[in-house]
Amino acid sequence: MLENMVTARHYEERLQEEYLEGKQPAFDISAGPIPGELHLAAGHEASGAGVCQHLRDDDTVTGPHRPHHVAIAKGVDLKRMTAEIFGRETGLCKGKGGHMHLFDPDVNFSASGIIAEGCPPAVGAALASKKRNEDSVAVAFLGEGAIDQGGFLESLNLASVHDLPVIFVVEDNDWAISMPKGRVTDVENGAQRADGFDMPGHRVDHDDATAVYEAAGEAVGRARDGNGPTLLEVQVHRRMGHFMGDAEAYRPDTDTERAQHLDSIDRLEADLRATGADEGTIEEIRSRAKERVEDAIEWAKEQPEPDPEEAYEDVFTNPPDGYAETLRGGE
């Protein structure tokens, strides 16, 4: 669990560096080696690691729009994910998806940039598992800003009435871009949303990875045993802006400092030390994580960019005869 968290944190820090290259001094979103928006999840690691620790490759995860920490914990290929973020041909999606839209069917991971819209497909994966009498489960990750969305609430209901093996994990970082949680919902505990759907709802405070691990264990167990869905809300902290380049003028400095100060990784390390883990083991985990991240970034940067002609491929799995020409605007 710690290794996944440390890997994710280091990964985000390195991506931030790479992203800002070429965008300085004046920030231009389309410049540099990584263009487009980049949403980093530093401070969210406890939820991805604590939950995915219980998952197998055949379990499905739909990620949030800041998906890297969940992807890493689910076992998504780090090199190919990185190549995707750099827009390379050997990326997970051949450079067509980018960082918000990572698809790795080998470990049943996918993500969407549309808020809460990963929930219905997770319900669908759970439905498929139930119909086939399998014991795989599905997990949908979303932010607390997404719990007002119809797609989420409708998914809770569908999952509940059909007792589907799905877990909804809400990452509560207090902010939806510039909107603090208090201004968009009247419930402090998002897990209360579960009450209206007759499913268990559980909230874990203080970025506590161990507590997430325990709560998720129960939820995943319930789902695997055919006892239906669970809603889990996990307190996390947004250590950075909503996206890179966000000046966060709307956010009080004290809040940013609080987020920097409350850290799930520090907490977990302290817990491990308290239960007897020695410094050497923790250090080893850290250096292994760093090496893995550096390898992935180095590898990704060496990969070729896609051939422009690739743009016309993959619109369909089964393209009608001669369709590529039509797409291009030819005959």
Binding site: G97, Q149, M179
Partner: protein
């Protein structure tokens, strides 16, 4: 009102000026959307409004598009004049019923007894590698569904005039602005959208296309960002071909007359559209030109997004997004015919 009066403004500033003016004139005008208050709109479309108006009139809302876009419909039907923003046009899917069944149709289905005087404002367009869920233009989708007026400014002058007209209009107006034209620091705009804008209020009437550059040989009909790419192409070709650039400014209503007049002069038509190729703006313009001036037409081409989702990687997005070079090539090709 001349386009040359007044001080130079970015397109976003011009839009905000119009909104602020209308809000001062009437308490019925208010704005709601995600990140429009403290943030001022991700693309600066409401920048600074919270300094002058309170949170009841510059309302941040939860991420719940069905609810808040539908609430705008309800408030409009109750006689208010809401301006609702959804930051990217790509996100409309989650609330499409409120848009195309409620907002757009209630006037008709009520036999005209109900009106929906609201503005639905949203950002369109790619060019910065944000992939298929954040880069679409979708002009055609909104213009295709009856009951909504659809406007697309390409300059600060037009943006202000269209915004005044949109807020005053008794019908629902979809106001689609291209991110790349807004003049935001982190997304540099081309030369052109920043124009002189009069201080006082004025309207740009819907259904009046604007000839942004006159020419005798080839007509290029376009809108939004691609007006500027077309003008650039025309300047590059100036020694070779005399290109007329028609900026549609509104899709519903569509100014068929200006298109036909231009085509009957040049005989050659190129339509440039950042939206998907099939079943959209480009096909519509060509159909209108053919219906009304077939005998004048000697050559037609369209330069559009192909019918593919918009890819992320730079070489792929550049391949599909119609560039100045593509326009030059198309103009040359119709000119040679």
């Amino acid at each position: 009102m001349a386009a040359s009066d007044g001080k130079e403004l970015t397109m976003s500033r011009a839009m905000v000026d119009a909104i602020a003016h209308e809000m001062r004139e009437s308490d019925d005008v208010f704005v709601m959307g995600e990140d429009i208050a403290d943030y001022g709109g991700i693309f600066d479309s409401t920048q600074g409004l919270l300094d002058e108006f309170d949170r009841d009139r510059i309302m941040d809302v939860p991420i719940s598009e069905t609810a808040f876009l539908g609430a705008a419909v309800g408030a409009a039907q109750s006689g208010m004049r809401p301006i609702a923003e959804l930051m990217f046009v790509d996100f409309f899917g989650v609330a499409m019923d409120q848009i195309y069944n409620q907002m757009a149709k209630n006037t008709y289905m009520s036999g005209g007894s109900v009106s929906v005087p609201m503005v639905l404002m949203t950002a369109v367009g790619g060019t910065y590698n944000d992939a298929a869920q954040h880069s679409q233009t979708l002009y055609g989708t909104f213009a295709h569904l009856p009951g909504m007026k659809v406007v697309v400014p390409s300059t600060a002058y037009d943006a202000k005039g269209l915004m005044h007209a949109a807020i005053r209009d008794d019908d629902p107006v979809v106001f689609m602005f291209h991110k790349r034209l807004m003049g935001i620091g982190w997304m540099p705009a081309p030369e052109g959208p920043k124009t002189a804008v009069p201080d006082e209020d004025y309207t740009v009437e819907f259904g009046e296309a604007d000839v942004k550059r006159e020419g005798d040989d080839v007509t290029v009909v376009t809108l939004g960002l691609h007006v500027h790419r077309a003008i650039e192409a025309a300047e590059d070709l100036a020694d070779e071909v005399d290109v007329e650039v028609v900026d549609l400014r509104s899709l519903v209503p569509l100014d068929t007359e200006t298109i036909v007049e231009s085509v009957s002069k040049t005989g050659r038509l190129v339509v440039v559209d950042e939206d998907y190729r099939s079943f959209g703006v480009s096909g519509e313009i060509i159909a209108r030109a053919a219906e009304n001036g077939l005998s004048d037409l000697t050559a037609v081409e369209r330069v559009t997004m192909p019918d593919t989702p918009i890819p992320y990687a730079r070489p792929l997005e550049q391949e599909v997004n119609p560039g100045t070079d593509d326009i030059i090539e198309a103009v040359r090709s119709v000119n040679d015919e």
